[in-house]
């Protein structure tokens, strides 16, 4: 049990313990709460960096804790989990800064930041989980700790939205539970490091059962990965405050679903078993339907956050499609899109939050001339929107390119056509927003910003940072430490050199 093995639980605890402390802080202790929040976020980033160094030098830290006979939690850090942990830790710090400013003067902030930290701990737990059971444990905890954030405002509408959210995610949780239990019953504990070894032993005796289990697992994950027809909760949950929609519905919650699908296809079943069982074609089919459906629905939404939500539904299924195509390039594209989409989408939600918080603008039709009033926010929005469309050199282009190349290397030309078509649809619902914001005269006089900047610096800095990141990640995709190179390493690990 070298010190490195203690890193994963330390990373988990670095947001869990402060979170529990924040729960019991009285509302008035604003500075202590902010200090705790920021300190735990930075601590987690540092710990992740140390973990990255350990893994880079070939270390395989693994930590286990027995809960009951035949039922223990295991955390470990392989390349894929590190990618997701880094993304979560980084974006959590940015979102915490944003949330502190966004919720200035709002009631119940201790409760908010308490659950906020629990959510991130659950996401980190999901990322670092070493076997399917630990993944399930943190997956469910994420569902439960997200609910209070979605209904934070306590209005009737947000509670209705919270209700819908629960119905979807809890039923998904039950499906995942039964699937995991069934697989464990058949094949014993399902470890991710085995890369599908557990399933290979069973593929001859129980092909039918394995297909059913795959359906159960992916159905449970599809709820969070917002795949049609179980995506309904995501647009509804947009009623949550902006930092919640930014971190949870663009990064943590939906990414947990997509990450889960990657784990199930590549680490639980393994590519060979999954293709033999013929389940990947179904997955690809659902992903394609979602990509096109999400974009079409986004076209007709006038509410900005709902349009972004449907865009998330569509963009997330790129990852599922990449996973389903099962070729090294497609996997690289899928994994790198996990990071890129997170960066771009969180920028969009930050900007949407700025608009609604500073100007009270929630609908696209009200955004005429907003570019004049909030230039920097809209510039960040433009960079992220163009990235989502796939224009080089922003991040979205890189992942779309690799997904397209991956589709061709497995002979599925149609997937490339879907990607190009989806790119056009993205343009169709993003560019009008830019046109309205920049090229139409403002219809009403915006409230003048008090300070020198268009809004408080803590609301403005996060979107700019994430927009710059998505630009940097796109332009310098060739650099060794870029997510693309990291995804390439993961693909090589899965498919062999």
């Amino acid at each position: 049990m070298s010190w490195a093995d203690l890193l994963p639980p330390f990373i988990l605890g670095s947001s869990l313990l402060p979170g529990l402390v924040i729960f019991f802080l009285p509302e008035s202790r604003r500075t202590l709460r902010t200090a705790l929040n920021l300190a735990s976020a930075c601590l987690k980033l540092v710990a992740v960096a140390v973990l990255m160094a350990v893994v880079a030098t070939g270390g395989q830290p693994r930590w286990e804790w027995s809960l009951a006979p035949g039922f223990d939690l295991a955390l470990q850090a392989d390349a894929l989990s590190l990618l997701f942990v880094t993304l979560s830790a980084g974006l959590w710090l940015v979102t915490t800064v944003y949330a502190i400013a966004y919720l200035e003067g709002a009631p119940q902030r201790s409760r908010f930041f308490g659950f906020f930290s629990l959510c991130v701990s659950a996401t980190v737990g999901i990322a670092l989980s070493a076997d399917l059971l630990t993944f399930l444990v943190f997956y469910e905890i994420l569902t439960i700790t997200t609910y209070p954030l979605v209904v934070h405002r306590g209005t009737r509408r947000s509670l209705a939205a919270g209700g819908t959210y629960l119905v979807y995610t809890l039923s998904g949780g039950v499906l995942l539970f039964v699937g995991t239990a069934w697989l464990t019953a058949l094949a014993g504990p399902v470890d991710f490091a085995s890369g599908g070894a557990t399933v290979d032993t069973l593929i001859h005796e129980h092909p039918g059962a394995l297909r059913a289990i795959f359906a159960l697992l992916v159905a449970g994950l599809a709820v969070k990965a917002a795949i049609v027809p179980v995506h309904g909760w995501l647009p509804v949950a947009m009623i949550a405050p902006a930092p919640v929609s930014a971190l949870l519905h663009a990064v943590a919650v939906v990414k947990a679903g997509a990450f889960g699908i990657l784990r199930v296809v590549y680490d639980v079943y393994g590519v060979q078993a999954a293709t033999d069982l013929g389940v990947l074609t179904w997955l690809a089919g659902f992903a394609t339907i979602t990509i096109l459906f999400g974009s079409l629905r986004a076209l007709v939404q006038d509410d900005l956050k709902r349009r972004l939500a449907y865009s998330t539904v569509s963009q997330l299924s790129y990852i599922t499609l990449g996973a389903a195509l099962a070729t090294p390039l497609a996997l690289t594209g899928a994994v790198v899109h996990l990071v890129h989409q997170g960066l771009m989408k969180i920028t969009l939600f930050f900007c949407a939050g700025n608009l609604s918080e500073t100007l009270g603008v929630r609908r696209v039709s009200e955004m005429a001339g907003v570019g004049r009033r909030m230039p920097w926010t809209m510039r960040a929005f433009a960079v992220a929107a163009l990235g989502m469309i796939g224009t080089p050199p922003i991040a979205g282009f890189v992942s779309k390119w690799y997904l397209g190349a991956g589709a061709l290397s497995s002979g599925d030309g149609w997937a490339l056509a879907v990607l190009v078509a989806s790119g056009l649809l993205n343009a169709a619902y993003f560019l009008p927003i830019l046109k309205t914001a920049w090229f139409e005269p403002a219809r009403k006089a915006w409230p003048v910003s008090s300070g020198r900047l268009e809004t408080s610096w803590m609301l403005l800095l996060p979107p700019l940072v994430t927009a710059a990141l998505s630009l940097l990640v796109g332009v310098c995709a060739g650099v060794d430490a870029s997510p693309l190179a990291w995804a390439g390493r993961i693909a090589r690990e899965v498919f062999g050199p």
Binding site: L67, A68, F138, E140, I141, P148, V174, A181, W182
Partner: protein
């Protein structure tokens, strides 16, 4: 292996009974009754500590009281099953006692709430003796090693429970107490008749001897039927559940906590003991399917009622009906799988329910005292006013739901995996899907809590210890969920 800090397991029953007599004689004088309570709790803690240490060390054992022989004397038997229930019962009792003390001695609610008018409520003089009597009775239930002793313990616990429900003083409480009385009595008589038949057939009532002598024939089946029917009525399995919601809703909060958490759990434990352990040989699986089906309907029935009732405590009471149904749907899995995991799964589920339900009832008690009533439609937004009670209720609800990290999840996980190994799919689906129904009524209350609303008139600050003990129990569900591994590992 008696360490310095342990006591013989006999004290578990002797101390509460003695305490009950002592508090009765002291007529609830303030300083003295607290001392007796403390002494009893201390004795129970030492005994439980000794019991757990011994069971971990050398496995199941029996203790003769007053060293008389088997047929005439009373024996306490302790094995892994009863140790688990007793170990968990201790914290529940301590927390409930603290809350009871808090409610008894904090200032009365000014508003004249018809349901919860405090004037005719329990006074220390009448409450503590019955409370300790119930404590002794429950402990005796988990320790008895022969059938007649079980009958006496059942009656003891039942009567103490009835009396405690009646101490609430208001008319609905009295009616509910009587209904509870008659149901309890009918069950006991049926159980006694079963005992008679068993004695007639096997000339002994000691469970140990019966386990080896049991075989499948006509008179044993009738005896098992009578024993079983009595216990199922006492455990409030659907459709004989009607007495439970009224009694548990009308009783003072700590009483309903103990009734739901432990007193209802004992008959379930006994059915598990008699049907699956002692008379395992004589038990055809079709019975368990029948009982499991009743349990499944009970889940749906209890949850549907819980979604409609207006009062918080009746909601929690109907949740007990649903959870008891859940336990009985797990019986076929335990029988079919027969594996150690399945048994521990059921034990975790039962124990988890005990702690979670106790924390929910105590939280409800706190909220009722703070608001002066527990009508849900007039408590909107209590999350902001009583955060600790809300977290207690929420965390307890999560354990019932089987959210990972709590002991509820460990139970459901072990049951699901062992169930699926023997292809008991319908029961596993019932156990897993019941979480959705539980979620429905738990989140009905949490939504009311989170809703931002102006503070209703007449709310008063709550004694801190009430909220903290409810919250402590809720945290216990997580502690058990995360930490029970090392304790359970060595047990068979």
């Amino acid at each position: 292996m008696d360490g310095p800090v342990t006591a013989s397991v006999g004290w578990l029953v002797a101390a509460p009974l003695a305490g009950s007599v002592a508090t009765f004689l002291l007529r609830g004088r303030r300083g003295a009754s607290e001392a007796v309570l403390l002494l009893t709790a201390l004795a129970a803690a030492l005994a439980t500590n000794g019991l757990v240490a011994r069971i971990m060390g050398s496995g199941p054992y029996t203790v003769e009281i007053g060293s008389w022989g088997a047929p005439a004397g009373i024996e306490w038997a302790v094995d892994d099953l009863s140790a688990a229930f007793l170990a968990v019962a201790l914290p529940v009792w301590i927390a409930a006692t603290i809350v009871a003390h808090g409610l008894l001695h904090s200032p009365r609610s000014p508003r004249d709430a018809r349901v919860f008018r405090k004037e005719p409520g329990p006074t220390a003089r009448t409450f503590w003796p019955l409370w300790l009597l119930l404590w002794g009775g429950v402990n005796a239930l988990f320790l008895s090693a022969d059938l007649f002793n079980l009958y006496v313990a059942l009656e003891l616990a039942g009567l103490a429970g009835v009396a405690l429900v009646a101490t609430a003083g208001v008319l609905p409480a009295l009616q509910a107490a009587l209904r509870y009385f008659f149901a309890n009595v009918a069950g006991s008589i049926s159980f006694l008749t079963g005992v008679a038949l068993v004695y007639h057939r096997y000339q002994t009532l000691d469970l140990q001897l019966l386990r080896s002598a049991a075989e499948s024939d006509a008179s044993t089946t009738v005896a098992l039927a009578l024993l079983g029917a009595g216990l199922l009525l006492k455990a409030a399995l659907f459709p004989m559940h009607a007495w439970l919601p009224r009694a548990h809703a009308a009783a003072p909060a700590p009483v309903s906590a103990i009734l739901s958490a432990l007193v209802v759990k004992a008959p379930v434990y006994l059915v598990l003991r008699l049907w699956l352990d002692v008379f395992h040989v004589a038990l055809p699986p079709s019975v368990l399917t029948f009982v499991g089906a009743l349990g499944a309907i009970g889940i749906v029935w209890g949850s549907a009622r819980a979604l409609r009732v207006e009062r918080l405590k009746s909601l929690i009471a109907y949740s007990t009906v649903a959870q008891v149904g859940l336990l009985f749907t797990a019986f076929p899995i335990v029988h079919a799988a027969g594996s150690r995991d399945a048994r521990w799964g059921l034990v975790f589920l039962a124990v988890g329910h005990a702690v979670a339900k106790a924390s929910m009832f105590l939280a409800a008690g706190g909220l009722a005292r703070a608001h002066g009533h527990d009508r849900l439609d007039q408590m909107t937004g209590f999350g902001a006013r009583e955060p600790l009670c809300t977290y207690a209720f929420g965390l307890g609800g999560m354990s019932l739901l089987g959210v990972p990290g709590t002991i509820g999840f460990s139970g459901k996980w072990l049951l699901a995996t062992s169930g699926l190994e023997v292809w008991a799919v319908p029961w596993v689906v019932a156990v897993s899907a019941s979480a959705l129904l539980t979620a429905a009524y738990v989140w009905r209350v949490l939504a009311i809590a989170i809703r931002s609303a102006p503070e209703p008139a007449g709310t008063r600050p709550l004694a801190r210890r009430i909220a903290w003990s409810a919250f402590a129990l809720a945290v216990l569900t997580v502690a058990l969920g995360l930490g029970s591994g090392p304790f359970v590992e060595p047990l068979p």
